[in-house]
Point group: C2
């Protein structure tokens, strides 16, 4: 594989997922920061490359891949080891369901463009935004804990990290940033700590990739 | 395959997707309606089966599959023809990105639990809820039109329906229900009409599966 360019933003959960996956696969990449706080993703230059105006995007050999889960699924074929989505259909369905429970049912409600809509057009004060944020994480994590606990091992599925753990760790990072209580989710807390101890996860952490102040 | 049970709700977009996929695969299923308006998905009985308390869920042989995209991905392995997610990695990544652009970036912002939060805790009047609904569809469809147009053929990817079309049609149904203008999305409108003309899509339509009044 030629060295890909990752259009990235250090605090984007979706970009954080792709950084972890690239690290787990041992793929060296060139990060290009797209400053979401400054609105760089809305510029004509970036939109021409990625009409959604979102990060992450992975570019190589004239291909532009968007959507973190699609990128990681593609990467699992391009670089088969270590496997991030199980090959057996039942395991694969469980890992995908856990990942989508985060990627569809928690994260989209809490990303920056939504928070901006709450404070802009809906004129919501900061405490209402924070309550919104905490509400969707609590709803989502309550379900995820119940879905995960019966089948979790060292990680959410088996003894090596999968796409599910790759989605969990950035979501836990967001929960902590917004001071969401986590005591009710012992499986998620344990696995987040386990995964965060791995080099591939640690090196992808926002604090490690943040632009110098 | 033994006949699966589909926990379903006629107006759920995510359940609509799975109905289309089952029909395209020619899989006969037993629908069980979970009345979201009545809160049946929050009952202890359903939550014990599916901790997320969402539809759809597909149950068979003691397996319970949740999350519409995970169910359809599983179905594509269990019943390989007709293929709904392309086998070639680049095509697969494009179809997944289109599907996720709907499933992650439009639909979660507009489903019933979110609208209930807007009218409940945030005390938003109906016109603010409708503006919210239209905003996320317009944002999402503008991007999706630009992502799709250069590569679309009869369908969003190629000449047979894929997971991307399966996500598009229910989202277009939602857009029309909320009177969102669609003139700016000619590719999406054309392909929605094309797909909706197929028996598998038509038979899955909410109006066809709605409980008798």
């Amino acid at each position: 594989m030629t060295k890909p360019i990752l259009y990235d933003y250090y605090r984007s959960s979706a970009a954080f997922r792709v950084r972890i996956a690239l690290n787990l696969k041992g793929v060296d990449y060139e990060p290009v920061s797209v400053d979401l706080r400054q609105g760089a993703q809305k510029g004509a230059d970036y939109r021409a490359r990625n009409p959604q105006g979102l990060v992450p995007m992975l570019e190589m050999n004239g291909m532009r891949l968007t959507q973190s889960l699609a990128i990681i699924d593609w990467l699992d074929t391009a670089v088969p080891q270590p496997r991030l989505i199980p090959a057996d259909p039942a395991g694969r369905a469980h890992v995908m369901a856990l990942a989508l429970a985060i990627a569809c049912d928690i994260h989209p409600l809490n990303n920056l463009r939504v928070l901006n809509y709450l404070s802009g057009p809906l004129e919501q004060p900061e405490d209402a935004r924070n309550a919104w944020y905490a509400h969707w994480i609590s709803e989502g994590f309550t379900a995820l804990e119940a879905m995960s606990a019966p089948r979790a091992r060292r990680f959410l599925f088996g003894d090596t990290p999968t796409l599910a753990d790759i989605c969990l760790v950035p979501q836990m990072y967001n929960a902590r940033r917004f001071h969401v209580p986590l005591e009710a989710y012992p499986t998620l807390v344990r696995i987040d700590a386990e995964a965060s101890g791995l080099d591939a996860f640690a090196a992808a952490h926002p604090d490690k990739v943040a632009p110098a102040a």
